[in-house]
């Protein structure tokens, strides 16, 4: 199972306490260009990840290559993929990382964005990216944590 999620906080309490146990994943991939080049921030983010879970910090464009590599290894029970933004998710999809479901967890508010759920506020560009993904068959799921009701807002 692969959970693909947009969360502007990337790895944080909700991931460690709820999504990792819920999915049973033993791999977490943070696809973020900024973090891929920031070793200190990587250390900070992965400090509290249980030792049984492998974490990776990679450039968005390298995602499909990385997934293939991990799936080749037999012990991949599940993978959580994290993006910090809608454009990053769209970019990964376009560069060959095909996914069927996209969980939109936290996209913080800033002026000019439209609040679509308590934890998600979308800019025009975000909305464009998500619509393009839905046209390609991706189902959107606006859950912050696993036991939130599945809400479709598009």
């Amino acid at each position: 199972m692969i959970l693909v999620r947009i969360d502007n906080r990337l790895i944080h309490g909700q991931i460690i306490e709820t999504w990792l146990p819920f999915t049973g994943a033993n791999h977490v991939i943070v696809a973020n260009d900024g973090l891929a080049n920031d070793v200190l921030q990587q250390e900070i983010m992965s400090l509290a990840i249980p030792q049984t879970i492998e974490s990776y910090f990679i450039n968005v464009d390298r995602l499909s290559e990385k997934i293939e590599q991990i799936q080749f290894i037999n012990d991949a029970q599940g993978i959580v993929v994290l993006f910090s933004s809608c454009p990053d998710a769209k970019r990964a999809f376009d560069s060959g990382f095909a996914f069927d479901n996209l969980n939109i967890g936290n996209v913080h508010y800033s002026p000019g964005k439209k609040q679509v759920s308590p934890s998600v506020a979308l800019s025009d560009e975000d909305e464009r990216c998500l619509r393009q993904l839905t046209r390609k068959g991706v189902e959107l799921d606006f859950r912050c944590v696993p036991n939130d009701p599945v809400q479709v807002r598009f």
Binding site: R9, G13, L47, H108, Y109, A121
Partner: protein, 146 residues
């Protein structure tokens, strides 16, 4: 502001509580109920609806406002949560120690021992936080059985 103060109290370690939501603020208020008014301590709540950069700046300015030259101890809630990771990110630029799992015994002990150097204060805070957790009912039962 310019008034000179001879009190040695001006040199104690600053304390910030960085938590999810209003937890830290309420916890600090509870500690003040126990100890009375306290200087150089602040609580910052992390709100998921506010951007990471903005929140980081709020934490940074809270740290700087309680800094008295002896460093600052950040008490955070969940190891791995964003209040903790954001605080850790500020260790680059601030004289800061970060300790997770904040509870009332930890806050009370910390505020009372702030003349200690930062590293010793952090150890004391950890011990107090851990020792404050007891199955008190069982302790009482054991005592009353004797």
């Amino acid at each position: 502001m310019a008034a000179k103060c001879e009190s040695r109290d001006k040199t104690f370690v600053g304390v910030v509580l960085v938590t999810h939501g209003a937890f830290g603020e309420t916890l600090l208020a509870a500690a003040k109920t126990v100890l009375g008014p306290q200087d150089n301590c602040q609580a910052i709540g992390v709100d998921v609806n506010i951007g990471v950069d903005e929140t980081m700046e709020a934490i940074r300015s809270a740290i700087r406002s309680v800094e008295n030259g002896k460093g600052v101890l950040a008490l955070t809630d969940l190891f791995g949560g964003s209040p903790t990771t954001m605080s850790l990110s500020l260790m680059k630029s601030e004289n800061l120690e970060v300790i997770t799992g904040v509870n009332l015994p930890m806050v009370v002990a910390t505020l009372q021992a702030r003349l200690l150097p930062l590293n010793e204060l952090a150890e004391k805070a950890k011990d107090a936080g851990q020792q404050g957790i007891k199955v008190a009912g069982a302790m009482l039962r054991k005592k009353t059985k004797k």
